[in-house]
Protein backbone atom coordinates (compact mmCIF):
# COMPACT_ATOMS: atom_id res chain seq x y z
CA UNK A 1 0.00 0.00 0.00
CA UNK A 2 3.06 2.22 0.22
CA UNK A 3 3.80 1.72 -3.43
CA UNK A 4 4.92 4.90 -5.16
CA UNK A 5 5.56 5.31 -8.83
CA UNK A 6 8.23 7.49 -10.47
CA UNK A 7 6.58 10.00 -12.80
CA UNK A 8 7.79 13.03 -14.73
CA UNK A 9 6.04 16.38 -14.27
CA UNK A 10 4.56 17.55 -17.59
CA UNK A 11 2.59 20.59 -16.43
CA UNK A 12 2.24 22.53 -13.21
CA UNK A 13 -0.49 24.85 -12.02
CA UNK A 14 -0.14 25.92 -8.39
CA UNK A 15 -0.61 22.88 -6.12
CA UNK A 16 -1.77 20.73 -9.05
CA UNK A 17 0.43 19.08 -11.67
CA UNK A 18 0.00 16.76 -14.61
CA UNK A 19 2.35 13.79 -14.70
CA UNK A 20 2.93 10.89 -17.04
CA UNK A 21 2.27 7.60 -15.27
CA UNK A 22 2.96 4.53 -17.39
CA UNK A 23 2.09 6.41 -20.58
CA UNK A 24 -1.09 7.92 -19.09
CA UNK A 25 -1.49 11.59 -18.15
CA UNK A 26 -2.86 12.13 -14.69
CA UNK A 27 -3.47 15.11 -12.47
CA UNK A 28 -1.85 14.91 -9.04
CA UNK A 29 -1.32 17.22 -6.09
CA UNK A 30 2.13 18.68 -5.44
CA UNK A 31 1.08 20.37 -2.17
CA UNK A 32 3.61 18.24 -0.26
CA UNK A 33 6.59 19.61 -2.21
CA UNK A 34 8.27 22.97 -1.66
CA UNK A 35 9.01 23.52 -5.29
CA UNK A 36 8.91 21.32 -8.33
CA UNK A 37 9.45 22.18 -11.97
CA UNK A 38 8.21 20.77 -15.25
CA UNK A 39 10.59 18.01 -16.36
CA UNK A 40 11.50 16.90 -12.81
CA UNK A 41 10.73 13.39 -11.55
CA UNK A 42 8.56 12.77 -8.48
CA UNK A 43 7.25 9.72 -6.60
CA UNK A 44 3.46 9.52 -6.80
CA UNK A 45 1.44 7.84 -4.04
CA UNK A 46 -2.37 8.04 -3.67
CA UNK A 47 -2.63 11.03 -5.99
CA UNK A 48 0.12 13.05 -4.28
CA UNK A 49 3.75 13.65 -5.18
CA UNK A 50 5.34 12.60 -1.89
CA UNK A 51 8.94 13.49 -2.77
CA UNK A 52 11.17 14.47 -5.65
CA UNK A 53 13.46 11.92 -7.27
CA UNK A 54 17.03 13.17 -7.44
CA UNK A 55 18.57 12.19 -10.78
CA UNK A 56 22.02 12.93 -9.35
CA UNK A 57 21.54 10.49 -6.45
CA UNK A 58 20.01 7.94 -8.83
CA UNK A 59 23.12 8.13 -11.03
CA UNK A 60 25.36 7.56 -7.99
CA UNK A 61 23.37 4.46 -6.99
CA UNK A 62 23.52 3.15 -10.56
CA UNK A 63 27.28 3.68 -10.76
CA UNK A 64 27.61 1.70 -7.51
CA UNK A 65 25.62 -1.10 -9.18
CA UNK A 66 28.02 -1.03 -12.13
CA UNK A 67 31.02 -1.22 -9.80
CA UNK A 68 29.56 -4.23 -7.97
CA UNK A 69 28.80 -6.02 -11.25
CA UNK A 70 32.30 -5.27 -12.57
CA UNK A 71 34.00 -6.40 -9.34
CA UNK A 72 32.18 -9.74 -9.50
CA UNK A 73 33.12 -10.19 -13.18
CA UNK A 74 36.76 -9.62 -12.24
CA UNK A 75 36.55 -12.18 -9.40
CA UNK A 76 34.99 -14.76 -11.70
CA UNK A 77 37.72 -14.49 -14.35
CA UNK A 78 40.49 -15.18 -11.83
Amino acid sequence: MCLGVPARVLEKNGAAAVVELGGVRREISVMLLDDVSVGEWVIVHAGFAIEKLSEEEAEQTLSLFREIAAATDATETH
Binding site: M1, M31, D34, G47, K52, T72
Partner: protein, 364 residues
Protein backbone atom coordinates in the same frame (compact mmCIF):
# COMPACT_ATOMS: atom_id res chain seq x y z
CA UNK B 1 8.85 0.34 -23.44
CA UNK B 2 11.76 0.98 -21.12
CA UNK B 3 10.60 2.52 -17.86
CA UNK B 4 12.99 5.14 -16.53
CA UNK B 5 13.90 4.96 -12.86
CA UNK B 6 12.50 1.41 -12.72
CA UNK B 7 14.19 -0.85 -15.27
CA UNK B 8 17.70 0.26 -14.24
CA UNK B 9 17.01 -1.35 -10.88
CA UNK B 10 16.10 -4.72 -12.36
CA UNK B 11 19.33 -5.62 -14.17
CA UNK B 12 19.96 -9.41 -13.93
CA UNK B 13 23.79 -9.15 -14.08
CA UNK B 14 23.87 -6.77 -11.09
CA UNK B 15 21.43 -9.02 -9.24
CA UNK B 16 23.69 -12.01 -9.83
CA UNK B 17 26.73 -10.09 -8.59
CA UNK B 18 24.89 -8.99 -5.46
CA UNK B 19 23.63 -12.50 -4.68
CA UNK B 20 27.24 -13.74 -4.94
CA UNK B 21 28.41 -10.94 -2.63
CA UNK B 22 25.65 -11.67 -0.09
CA UNK B 23 26.51 -15.39 -0.07
CA UNK B 24 30.18 -14.55 0.43
CA UNK B 25 29.44 -12.16 3.31
CA UNK B 26 26.98 -14.47 5.09
CA UNK B 27 28.18 -16.74 7.89
CA UNK B 28 27.40 -20.38 8.59
CA UNK B 29 23.94 -19.80 10.03
CA UNK B 30 21.38 -17.81 8.03
CA UNK B 31 21.16 -14.16 9.11
CA UNK B 32 17.64 -13.19 10.22
CA UNK B 33 16.61 -9.94 8.56
CA UNK B 34 13.17 -8.38 8.65
CA UNK B 35 11.62 -6.52 5.75
CA UNK B 36 9.31 -4.23 7.68
CA UNK B 37 7.12 -3.12 4.80
CA UNK B 38 4.46 -5.09 2.94
CA UNK B 39 5.52 -3.61 -0.39
CA UNK B 40 8.97 -5.13 0.20
CA UNK B 41 7.30 -8.44 1.15
CA UNK B 42 5.51 -8.62 -2.18
CA UNK B 43 8.60 -7.57 -4.17
CA UNK B 44 10.73 -10.20 -2.38
CA UNK B 45 8.13 -12.93 -2.98
CA UNK B 46 7.46 -11.99 -6.60
CA UNK B 47 11.11 -11.78 -7.61
CA UNK B 48 12.12 -15.00 -5.86
CA UNK B 49 14.77 -13.31 -3.70
CA UNK B 50 14.03 -15.57 -0.71
CA UNK B 51 15.00 -18.87 -2.41
CA UNK B 52 17.98 -17.15 -4.11
CA UNK B 53 19.40 -16.37 -0.68
CA UNK B 54 18.31 -19.52 1.18
CA UNK B 55 20.88 -20.74 3.65
CA UNK B 56 22.57 -17.32 3.74
CA UNK B 57 19.76 -14.98 4.70
CA UNK B 58 16.35 -15.71 6.24
CA UNK B 59 14.02 -12.88 5.27
CA UNK B 60 11.26 -12.48 7.83
CA UNK B 61 8.24 -10.34 7.00
CA UNK B 62 7.18 -7.57 9.35
CA UNK B 63 4.03 -5.68 10.32
CA UNK B 64 4.16 -3.12 7.49
CA UNK B 65 0.91 -3.97 5.76
CA UNK B 66 -1.62 -1.32 6.85
CA UNK B 67 -4.63 -3.40 5.90
CA UNK B 68 -3.34 -6.39 7.88
CA UNK B 69 -2.86 -4.48 11.14
CA UNK B 70 -6.15 -2.55 11.02
CA UNK B 71 -8.32 -3.99 13.83
CA UNK B 72 -11.63 -5.68 13.02
CA UNK B 73 -13.34 -3.04 15.16
CA UNK B 74 -12.38 -0.51 12.49
CA UNK B 75 -14.27 -2.46 9.82
CA UNK B 76 -17.25 -2.74 12.20
CA UNK B 77 -17.20 1.05 12.73
CA UNK B 78 -17.01 1.67 8.97
CA UNK B 79 -19.98 -0.63 8.34
CA UNK B 80 -21.92 1.10 11.14
CA UNK B 81 -21.24 4.49 9.53
CA UNK B 82 -22.71 3.22 6.27
CA UNK B 83 -25.59 1.22 7.75
CA UNK B 84 -26.68 3.38 10.68
CA UNK B 85 -25.62 6.85 9.58
CA UNK B 86 -26.25 6.41 5.85
CA UNK B 87 -22.75 7.55 4.93
CA UNK B 88 -21.22 6.94 1.54
CA UNK B 89 -17.94 5.14 2.23
CA UNK B 90 -14.87 5.83 0.10
CA UNK B 91 -11.96 3.41 0.49
CA UNK B 92 -8.74 2.12 -0.99
CA UNK B 93 -9.57 -1.15 -2.77
CA UNK B 94 -7.44 -3.30 -0.47
CA UNK B 95 -9.76 -2.73 2.50
CA UNK B 96 -12.92 -4.20 1.01
CA UNK B 97 -12.36 -7.87 1.83
CA UNK B 98 -10.92 -7.41 5.31
CA UNK B 99 -13.12 -9.30 7.76
CA UNK B 100 -14.71 -7.36 10.61
CA UNK B 101 -16.34 -9.18 13.53
CA UNK B 102 -19.25 -10.38 11.44
CA UNK B 103 -18.94 -8.99 7.91
CA UNK B 104 -16.70 -7.18 5.43
CA UNK B 105 -17.20 -4.05 3.33
CA UNK B 106 -17.35 -6.25 0.23
CA UNK B 107 -20.15 -8.41 1.66
CA UNK B 108 -22.04 -5.31 2.79
CA UNK B 109 -21.57 -3.74 -0.65
CA UNK B 110 -23.21 -6.85 -2.10
CA UNK B 111 -26.14 -6.15 0.24
CA UNK B 112 -26.49 -2.59 -0.98
CA UNK B 113 -24.07 -0.58 1.17
CA UNK B 114 -22.66 2.34 -0.83
CA UNK B 115 -18.89 1.73 -0.87
CA UNK B 116 -16.76 3.38 -3.55
CA UNK B 117 -13.15 2.49 -4.29
CA UNK B 118 -10.95 5.54 -4.79
CA UNK B 119 -7.32 5.97 -5.82
CA UNK B 120 -6.68 9.12 -3.79
CA UNK B 121 -8.18 10.68 -0.64
CA UNK B 122 -8.75 13.75 -2.85
CA UNK B 123 -11.13 11.64 -4.98
CA UNK B 124 -13.22 11.21 -1.81
CA UNK B 125 -13.31 14.99 -1.31
CA UNK B 126 -14.45 15.31 -4.95
CA UNK B 127 -17.20 12.73 -4.25
CA UNK B 128 -18.38 14.85 -1.31
CA UNK B 129 -18.46 17.97 -3.49
CA UNK B 130 -20.41 16.10 -6.16
CA UNK B 131 -22.90 14.64 -3.63
CA UNK B 132 -23.75 17.52 -1.25
CA UNK B 133 -26.82 15.65 0.04
CA UNK B 134 -24.68 12.73 1.29
CA UNK B 135 -22.15 12.37 4.09
CA UNK B 136 -18.93 11.00 2.58
CA UNK B 137 -16.55 9.17 4.91
CA UNK B 138 -13.07 8.32 3.66
CA UNK B 139 -11.53 5.23 5.25
CA UNK B 140 -8.13 6.71 6.03
CA UNK B 141 -5.91 3.68 6.48
CA UNK B 142 -2.15 3.80 6.08
CA UNK B 143 1.31 4.56 7.42
CA UNK B 144 3.41 7.72 7.21
CA UNK B 145 3.49 7.43 3.40
CA UNK B 146 -0.27 7.89 3.21
CA UNK B 147 -0.75 10.15 6.25
CA UNK B 148 0.14 13.38 4.36
CA UNK B 149 -2.24 12.43 1.54
CA UNK B 150 -5.06 11.90 4.05
CA UNK B 151 -4.07 15.10 5.87
CA UNK B 152 -3.90 16.93 2.55
CA UNK B 153 -7.46 15.84 1.75
CA UNK B 154 -8.69 17.02 5.18
CA UNK B 155 -6.97 20.37 4.78
CA UNK B 156 -8.36 20.73 1.25
CA UNK B 157 -11.89 19.96 2.47
CA UNK B 158 -11.48 22.48 5.32
CA UNK B 159 -10.20 25.20 2.95
CA UNK B 160 -13.08 24.63 0.52
CA UNK B 161 -15.72 24.31 3.25
CA UNK B 162 -16.71 20.76 2.26
CA UNK B 163 -18.73 20.04 5.41
CA UNK B 164 -20.06 16.64 4.29
CA UNK B 165 -16.58 15.09 4.17
CA UNK B 166 -14.89 13.29 7.04
CA UNK B 167 -12.26 10.62 7.68
CA UNK B 168 -12.33 7.47 9.79
CA UNK B 169 -8.65 7.56 10.69
CA UNK B 170 -6.53 4.45 11.11
CA UNK B 171 -3.07 5.87 10.58
CA UNK B 172 -0.06 4.18 12.16
CA UNK B 173 3.61 4.95 12.47
CA UNK B 174 6.37 2.47 11.74
CA UNK B 175 9.37 3.27 14.01
CA UNK B 176 7.29 2.64 17.16
CA UNK B 177 6.31 -0.82 15.86
CA UNK B 178 9.96 -1.56 14.99
CA UNK B 179 10.95 -0.60 18.54
CA UNK B 180 8.45 -3.13 19.95
CA UNK B 181 9.73 -5.89 17.67
CA UNK B 182 13.36 -5.02 18.40
CA UNK B 183 12.79 -5.44 22.14
CA UNK B 184 10.88 -8.73 21.80
CA UNK B 185 13.32 -11.57 22.58
CA UNK B 186 11.26 -14.04 20.57
CA UNK B 187 11.61 -12.05 17.35
CA UNK B 188 15.43 -12.10 17.17
CA UNK B 189 15.98 -9.72 14.27
CA UNK B 190 19.58 -9.07 13.18
CA UNK B 191 18.80 -6.29 10.73
CA UNK B 192 15.90 -4.19 9.50
CA UNK B 193 15.29 -3.52 5.82
CA UNK B 194 13.42 -0.23 6.28
CA UNK B 195 10.51 0.90 4.09
CA UNK B 196 11.23 3.06 1.05
CA UNK B 197 8.36 5.50 1.05
CA UNK B 198 7.65 5.74 4.77
CA UNK B 199 11.31 6.83 4.90
CA UNK B 200 10.79 9.37 2.11
CA UNK B 201 8.39 11.13 4.50
CA UNK B 202 9.98 10.62 7.93
CA UNK B 203 13.64 10.49 6.83
CA UNK B 204 16.24 7.77 7.41
CA UNK B 205 17.33 9.37 10.72
CA UNK B 206 13.98 8.31 12.21
CA UNK B 207 15.41 4.79 12.65
CA UNK B 208 18.41 5.94 14.66
CA UNK B 209 16.78 5.15 18.03
CA UNK B 210 16.13 1.56 16.83
CA UNK B 211 19.69 1.15 15.51
CA UNK B 212 21.38 2.79 18.50
CA UNK B 213 19.21 1.62 21.41
CA UNK B 214 18.71 -1.95 20.22
CA UNK B 215 22.01 -2.31 18.33
CA UNK B 216 20.23 -3.51 15.19
CA UNK B 217 21.51 -2.42 11.75
CA UNK B 218 18.93 -0.51 9.66
CA UNK B 219 19.07 0.10 5.89
CA UNK B 220 16.48 2.08 3.96
CA UNK B 221 16.02 0.40 0.57
CA UNK B 222 13.96 1.01 -2.56
CA UNK B 223 11.34 -1.47 -3.77
CA UNK B 224 13.05 -2.72 -6.93
CA UNK B 225 14.96 -6.04 -6.85
CA UNK B 226 18.48 -4.52 -7.01
CA UNK B 227 17.54 -2.00 -4.33
CA UNK B 228 16.47 -4.86 -2.05
CA UNK B 229 19.56 -6.99 -2.75
CA UNK B 230 21.91 -4.05 -2.17
CA UNK B 231 20.03 -3.20 1.03
CA UNK B 232 20.46 -6.78 2.27
CA UNK B 233 24.13 -6.71 1.33
CA UNK B 234 24.61 -3.46 3.29
CA UNK B 235 22.94 -5.03 6.34
CA UNK B 236 25.28 -8.03 6.15
CA UNK B 237 28.33 -5.79 5.89
CA UNK B 238 27.23 -3.89 9.01
CA UNK B 239 26.81 -7.16 10.84
CA UNK B 240 30.24 -8.36 9.69
CA UNK B 241 31.83 -5.11 10.88
CA UNK B 242 29.97 -5.38 14.18
CA UNK B 243 28.25 -2.00 13.81
CA UNK B 244 24.59 -0.97 13.99
CA UNK B 245 23.78 2.25 12.19
CA UNK B 246 21.28 3.65 9.73
CA UNK B 247 22.28 3.56 6.06
CA UNK B 248 20.27 4.66 3.06
CA UNK B 249 20.30 2.77 -0.23
CA UNK B 250 17.28 4.75 -1.52
CA UNK B 251 19.00 8.14 -1.49
CA UNK B 252 17.45 9.06 -4.84
CA UNK B 253 14.16 9.64 -3.00
CA UNK B 254 14.60 9.37 0.79
CA UNK B 255 16.83 11.86 2.61
CA UNK B 256 18.18 11.79 6.16
CA UNK B 257 15.56 14.23 7.42
CA UNK B 258 12.64 13.37 5.11
CA UNK B 259 9.98 15.59 3.60
CA UNK B 260 9.62 18.49 6.07
CA UNK B 261 6.53 19.90 4.36
CA UNK B 262 4.76 16.54 4.63
CA UNK B 263 5.85 16.22 8.28
CA UNK B 264 4.46 19.71 9.02
CA UNK B 265 1.15 18.74 7.42
CA UNK B 266 0.98 15.55 9.51
CA UNK B 267 1.67 17.61 12.68
CA UNK B 268 -1.02 20.12 11.70
CA UNK B 269 -3.80 17.63 11.00
CA UNK B 270 -2.98 14.74 13.36
CA UNK B 271 -1.86 14.16 16.93
CA UNK B 272 -0.03 11.01 18.12
CA UNK B 273 -2.00 8.47 20.15
CA UNK B 274 -1.74 4.93 21.47
CA UNK B 275 -3.33 2.55 19.02
CA UNK B 276 -4.15 -1.14 18.60
CA UNK B 277 -2.52 -3.20 15.87
CA UNK B 278 -4.43 -6.27 14.81
CA UNK B 279 -2.63 -9.36 16.06
CA UNK B 280 0.01 -7.35 17.93
CA UNK B 281 -1.82 -5.29 20.53
CA UNK B 282 -1.69 -1.67 21.62
CA UNK B 283 1.59 0.08 20.79
CA UNK B 284 2.08 3.35 22.70
CA UNK B 285 2.37 6.44 20.52
CA UNK B 286 2.05 4.47 17.27
CA UNK B 287 -1.18 6.00 15.98
CA UNK B 288 -2.25 9.31 14.51
CA UNK B 289 -5.71 10.63 15.28
CA UNK B 290 -7.25 13.75 13.83
CA UNK B 291 -6.26 16.90 15.73
CA UNK B 292 -8.90 18.91 17.66
CA UNK B 293 -8.56 21.78 15.17
CA UNK B 294 -9.93 19.45 12.47
CA UNK B 295 -12.50 17.67 14.70
CA UNK B 296 -15.27 18.49 12.20
CA UNK B 297 -13.57 16.07 9.80
CA UNK B 298 -13.14 13.24 12.31
CA UNK B 299 -15.85 10.68 11.51
CA UNK B 300 -15.53 8.95 14.91
CA UNK B 301 -16.44 12.13 16.82
CA UNK B 302 -18.77 13.58 14.19
CA UNK B 303 -21.06 10.52 14.15
CA UNK B 304 -20.29 9.12 17.60
CA UNK B 305 -19.12 5.82 16.15
CA UNK B 306 -15.90 4.85 17.95
CA UNK B 307 -13.41 2.28 16.71
CA UNK B 308 -13.19 -0.34 19.44
CA UNK B 309 -10.01 -2.40 19.69
CA UNK B 310 -10.40 -5.81 21.27
CA UNK B 311 -7.82 -8.56 20.84
CA UNK B 312 -9.27 -11.50 18.95
CA UNK B 313 -9.35 -15.07 20.17
CA UNK B 314 -9.05 -17.25 17.08
CA UNK B 315 -6.85 -19.98 15.68
CA UNK B 316 -5.57 -17.44 13.14
CA UNK B 317 -1.91 -16.66 13.85
CA UNK B 318 -1.62 -13.47 11.82
CA UNK B 319 -0.22 -11.76 14.91
CA UNK B 320 2.75 -14.10 15.10
CA UNK B 321 3.24 -13.81 11.33
CA UNK B 322 3.20 -10.00 11.57
CA UNK B 323 5.84 -10.12 14.29
CA UNK B 324 8.01 -12.52 12.32
CA UNK B 325 7.67 -15.23 14.97
CA UNK B 326 6.32 -17.85 12.59
CA UNK B 327 6.16 -18.32 8.82
CA UNK B 328 2.70 -18.50 7.21
CA UNK B 329 2.73 -22.27 6.66
CA UNK B 330 3.22 -22.76 10.41
CA UNK B 331 -0.32 -21.44 10.97
CA UNK B 332 -2.87 -24.29 11.13
CA UNK B 333 -5.32 -22.36 8.91
CA UNK B 334 -2.88 -21.38 6.12
CA UNK B 335 -3.89 -22.79 2.74
CA UNK B 336 -6.64 -24.85 4.35
CA UNK B 337 -9.50 -22.81 5.77
CA UNK B 338 -7.66 -19.57 4.98
CA UNK B 339 -7.03 -18.92 1.27
CA UNK B 340 -7.06 -15.66 -0.77
CA UNK B 341 -10.56 -16.40 -2.16
CA UNK B 342 -11.92 -16.98 1.36
CA UNK B 343 -9.51 -15.25 3.74
CA UNK B 344 -9.78 -15.90 7.43
CA UNK B 345 -7.14 -13.50 8.65
CA UNK B 346 -6.04 -10.11 7.38
CA UNK B 347 -2.57 -11.30 6.27
CA UNK B 348 -4.34 -13.37 3.61
CA UNK B 349 -6.61 -10.51 2.51
CA UNK B 350 -4.30 -7.77 1.42
CA UNK B 351 -2.23 -8.36 -1.69
CA UNK B 352 0.64 -7.13 0.51
CA UNK B 353 -0.12 -9.51 3.33
CA UNK B 354 2.60 -12.00 4.14
CA UNK B 355 0.26 -15.01 3.93
CA UNK B 356 -1.17 -13.84 0.59
CA UNK B 357 2.34 -13.33 -0.82
CA UNK B 358 3.45 -16.79 0.37
CA UNK B 359 0.29 -18.40 -0.97
CA UNK B 360 0.64 -16.76 -4.38
CA UNK B 361 4.38 -17.02 -4.93
CA UNK B 362 5.34 -19.97 -2.74
CA UNK B 363 7.25 -19.96 0.49
CA UNK B 364 10.65 -20.33 -1.13
Amino acid sequence: MRLRHIDEYRDPATAKALVARIRKDAGDAPVRLMEVCGTHTVAIARTGIRPLLSGAVAMVSGPGCPVCVTPDGYIDAAIALGREKGALLASFGDMLRVPGKSSSLEKEKGRGLDVRVVYSPLDAVALAVASPEREVVFLGVGFETTAPAIGGAIRTAAARGVANFSVLSSVRTIPEAMGILASDPEVRIEGFLCPAHVSAIIGADAYRPVAERHRIPCVVAGFEPIDILLGISMLLRQKREGVARVENEYSRVATATGNRKAQDLIREVFVPCDTGWRGIGVIPGSGLRIAPAYAAFDAEGKFGVPVIFSPEKTACRCGDVLKGKILPHECPLFGKTCVPEEPYGPCMVSSEGTCAAYFKYGSG
